[in-house]
């Protein structure tokens, strides 16, 4: 039975007990100023942090700066980490805050203020060349990344937080300061836009061969 499923995007929890132990050990050593411990923590989480930044801002140079800032903020406060939540959750949330602060500083919309869905323009209409540009089957990962980059910033934020990073709508609403309804609406629109982008790329490729 088809349903809108989600691959467990997860929030980076280290379920491997060996990794958890290594991380816990590194955290304690990092609190003593051990450089190797900081490096272990960095390498454990760098891809998650950088990928999140890159998906949100679509600019590798900015993403590097943001990832760097997220880790620095985390490491400055590592002495206060008491283990009440997962370290990865703490880092994850900090990274999102760093990115959103940057977007707000630049005056970019974090999320659209639209509260309601339009209905007419979202009909699953039959498009020209739709048979040739059918999306179902597979999506090239690089094309999907490129399509995400093309999303308007507001749509991109919610899509990345929900479908890529695994935040729930109530969490997104709290993080970005919108309603749960708005979060759902933005997500749906983002997905529809991505579908359009990907279909048009497919149609273009089919034409050019």
């Amino acid at each position: 039975m088809p349903h809108l499923n989600r691959v467990a995007a997860g929030k980076g929890n280290l379920t491997d007990p060996n990794k958890s132990t290594a991380e816990a050990d590194a955290i304690e050593r990092a609190k003593q100023g051990d450089e190797a411990a900081f490096e272990v923590l960095y390498h454990l989480h760098k891809r998650r942090v950088y990928s999140l930044c890159l998906r949100m801002v679509s600019n590798p140079t900015q993403a590097e700066d943001l990832a760097q800032e997220a880790f620095l903020q985390l490491f400055r406060k590592i002495g206060t980490f008491r283990g009440e939540s997962a370290f990865s959750t703490w880092l994850h949330r900090m990274t999102v805050n760093v990115v959103l602060m940057q977007l707000r500083k630049k005056g970019l919309p974090v999320v659209s203020l639209e509260e309601t869905l339009e209905t007419e323009d979202e009909a699953p209409r039959k498009e020209f060349g739709a048979d040739d540009a059918k999306l179902s089957g597979s999506i090239d990962r690089m094309l999907l990344k490129r399509a995400i980059d093309k999303l308007p910033p507001g749509y991109r934020t919610v899509f990345v937080l929900h479908d890529v990073e695994g935040f729930e709508h109530n969490e997104i609403a709290e993080i970005v300061g919108c309603s749960i309804g708005n979060s759902k609406s933005q997500l749906h629109k983002a997905r529809l836009k991505l579908r359009d982008y990907l279909k048009s790329i497919r149609a273009e490729k089919a034409k050019t061969g």
Binding site: H3, F38, K46, F75, L135, S136, S138, R146, R191, R195
Partner: protein
């Protein structure tokens, strides 16, 4: 249930199953069925993007330097540690080969990008063993990328990547291209997990094991990740040879690999 009803309820169907009315409509409406299938596909693929990108090595260097500057990183005696790129002692020359290999990795990437025009030509490059980019000296790199290796070297004191002539004379084998390109090219969804280090990588890891055993797994994981990225991007370029952005990305990934070698050189001497 009508198509309008489907559109109305779709935003609220996030993780859960759909009801019987919805299901019945999908069975009778190809357009709505295709829409749901497409959205499912986008959602499932999006979930795999959470950890796909590797930051350049310079990110860690910058973080470490800043932590040192703020006194957060301390040496075993509890004193603020030295900035990362200033060596604690004069360089030894026994690991000089790492730096030209780093440059050769860049040269290999540059050569591949300029000579790889069509899928037919790629296997010829991949099957040479070892890969033979022309005159792989540190000087022979694309101008945009050469500073990445040379600049970092210039920040050290007694060791440099240059002189190119000396490096070219003594360095026997440039870094070979990743193996199994043709195998990966036929598999659009090449696994990111299976990217074993090549011969030069193995030699590099052996040196790391000998001189800084605690760092071996870190560098091994980083090499696997960057090699996986190289393979995936190469496969993508084979399918989309006109994509200049992808070629640029491939060059950047080679640059990351070169910086990895350079970082090791800075750390393990």
């Amino acid at each position: 249930m009508t198509c309008s009803d489907v559109r109305r309820v779709l935003p609220d169907i996030v993780d859960g199953e759909i009801d019987a009315d919805f299901q019945a409509h999908l069975l009778s409406c190809p357009a709505c069925s295709e829409l749901v299938d497409d959205l499912n596909l986008i959602v499932s693929e999006a979930g795999t993007l959470a950890e796909t990108d590797e930051p350049p090595a310079r990110v860690w260097v910058n973080i470490a330097n800043q932590l040192r500057a703020e006194g957060i990183i301390r040496d075993p005696e509890g004193n603020p540690a030295r900035p990362l790129l200033v060596p604690a002692q004069p360089r030894r020359w026994s690991l000089w080969w790492l730096a030209p290999v780093a440059a050769a990795v860049l040269a290999a990437g540059s050569y591949q990008l300029t000579h790889w025009n069509a899928p037919r030509s790629a296997p010829q490059v991949a099957q040479q063993s070892p890969a033979q980019p022309p005159a792989a000296t540190p000087a022979v790199t694309s101008p945009a990328n050469q500073p990445a290796v040379v600049a970092q070297s210039s920040s050290t004191t007694s060791h440099t990547v240059n002189p190119p002539a000396q490096a070219a004379k003594h360095q026997p084998v440039p870094a070979p291209l990743p193996k199994a390109e043709t195998e990966v090219a036929s598999n659009q969804n090449a696994s990111r997990e299976v990217s074993p280090p090549n011969e030069e990588d193995q030699r590099f890891l052996s040196e790391v094991s000998e001189r800084a055993p605690g760092m071996r797994s870190t560098y091994e994981n980083q090499l696997r990740a960057v090699n996986a990225e190289i393979l995936e991007t190469q496969a993508y370029i084979k399918r989309n040879p006109e994509d200049l952005d992808a070629r640029q990305h491939l060059m950047e990934v080679y640059q990351q690999k070169a910086m990895l070698y350079q970082m090791a050189l800075d750390r393990i001497q």
